[in-house]
Amino acid sequence: MNSAPVIRPASGEKVTLTYWAWLKDLQNVCDIWNAKNPNVQVNAVWIPGGNGGGYQKMHSALAAGGGPDLAQIELRTIPEFMLVNGLVDLARYGAKDYADRFDKTLWGQVSFVDGVYGIPQDSGPMGLYYRPDLLQKVGADAPKTWDDWAATAAELRKAKIYIDCFPLADPSWFTAVATQAGASWLKVDGDSWTINMTDDATLNTARFFDKAIDKDLVTTAYAGFSTPWFAAAAADNIATLTSASWGDALLEGVSGGKGKWRVAAMPTWPKGGYGSSYIGGSTAAVLANSKHPKEALEFAIWMQTSKEGIDALIKNCGIGWSPDRDYIGKQREQPSAFFGGQNYNEEVFLPATHEQNPDWSWWPITQQSFNILADGFRKKSSGGTLVDAVAQAEKNIITAFRNKGLSIRKVES
């Protein structure tokens, strides 16, 4: 499909684009575009979120030779859709001309070999949400390094408070923290994939949290933003949460939490690594059977990089961090009442976007790899270690790649 001739833009006649996404009220955003572009009308259709049913729907549509023009696909899922030849290479329609409008790290995550396979829509730079009142109890401030974090956690345990939770069942958090330390697990090298999950950055991160869990510094009973987590947070049993920028909206769901939380920079690793990391983030991708890829690309660029598009996406859909290099959105330039008047977006998350690991790239079986990793992490509760889990996961991921017929080899750091 990406070797077939480029489809030329429609000249003159009216074009209707269909856009599948799980963002709420997306049509309101499209309507702003529609009013200005009578010849390219965009019709938003709501689908269930990602692995909750949306991707299944897209895969079925692609298999049947149909599907929408545009679809919301998470950054980490882009390669999975490339594997079924489901995405249009937008570089062939001039996407690279817009590269300098986007955050470099995110643009890197939609670029593979010479192509561009999605237009970044939002992301989740990470920071540390914390409760000054609870940290005060043990005379601590927001921890600046992970060592500080561990020391504060030990003090908090004496007051029966956990500093945070460690999600065993969802390794995306561990992955984000290892990425911060400098890990870069999979890469394309010529005709083959290379994997390296046993580098120092990953193993040191695993060792650090092995120790933290063994010493009961973090709880593994639940993950952030799960029902039990909200109950624990409301009961003042959780002092901090290292999470993505989109966590702010979720945090507002903690009952009685207003005014109690603040945001600080993510704790850092002693040597090497980056100031922050990222969890989540999605793109607007053009699906393989679109008849109007050029128009779809133009709409996506308008939506993600124009001020009115970004503001409308934040207001109507509550998207995560805008991928635009220069504009974070009007709403986010203002202080927040929930965070006690702190102007945390400009103060914490904006600088965080400049301190992310730019080398990370996703791979075609990300979801399966995360499940493999989670299977290993769950053994932690019965005596296993995260270090062993990572090493074993690397072997299983290699097998899973080969079962798909993809070539992969292990490289040493």
Partner: protein, 315 residues
Amino acid sequence: MTSTVSATRTRTPSSSLRGKSQHRKRMWAPWALLGPFLLLFILTFALPIIIAIGESFTKVTRHGIFGEKGVTTEFAWFSNYAQALANGNFIASIGRMLLFGVVQVTVMIAACTVLALLLESASARWPGFFRAAYFLPYGIPGVIATILWSFLYVPGLSPLIDIAGMFRIQLDFLGAGTVLWSIANIVTWTYTGYNMLIIVAQLKAIPTDVYEAAKVDGAGPWRVARSIQLPLIRPALVLTTVFSIIGTLQLFAEPQVLQSVAPAIDSEYTPNLSAYTTAFAYNDYNVAAAQAVLIAAVAFILSFTFLRLTNRSSK
């Protein structure tokens, strides 16, 4: 539709030597009546099964970094089955369901039998009310039931855990060792009333003269239950047990929903969850089809074995 039409057409000439029009009408009627059923049966049942079996013997191989250098589809013999069986999580999920079945089905069948006998005993008060009350949970969809129960399982929300905590008892409903039985509890709560109703129906079918004869012979309620009711509801018990065995292997909604609050439930906790994950998260429909065929085979073997055992012991 095509198959029904062609079936009618091929049959008519051979058997329409005399009374042509009348005969044709008679031949046509059963097919017309069966048509809607057959159409749905073939399209939504027979065809998917055939396609799934076909898929389970197919393998798709991609070349290059993203399959850009070509995709080959070939007949793979049993390699998908080998891959499914080599997956430790899938085998573990079947083992888990066997353990679950042995405990949960036994408890549930015993409970529903006792309830049915109590409700049908002569001294039962308001049997109609209690029958409806016990049956009520079945009317609540599994997903909703799981959400309801999860509020009793989650620490910080559950009054049960709080009360136990007052007596210094640590309850953990969602731990790696306990969550399976928390699911069993939800399943038992949902289906006991339903199975009870099947047994009650069978109990009601016992002729009253059998009871009268027993009374004349001086049998008390215990004796009636043991020697008359239990042997006569045997077919209902066998039926409910077989349904429960099949239902156990197909467990899906409860663990899927509970997953969000119980980190111990992995993406391949039950055989059906495993097949679902393989198909829709890993996009590997071929191995998923092989898993589905294997699950069906295990359900068939278990049900058949159970029927064999009960038939033998009754002889």
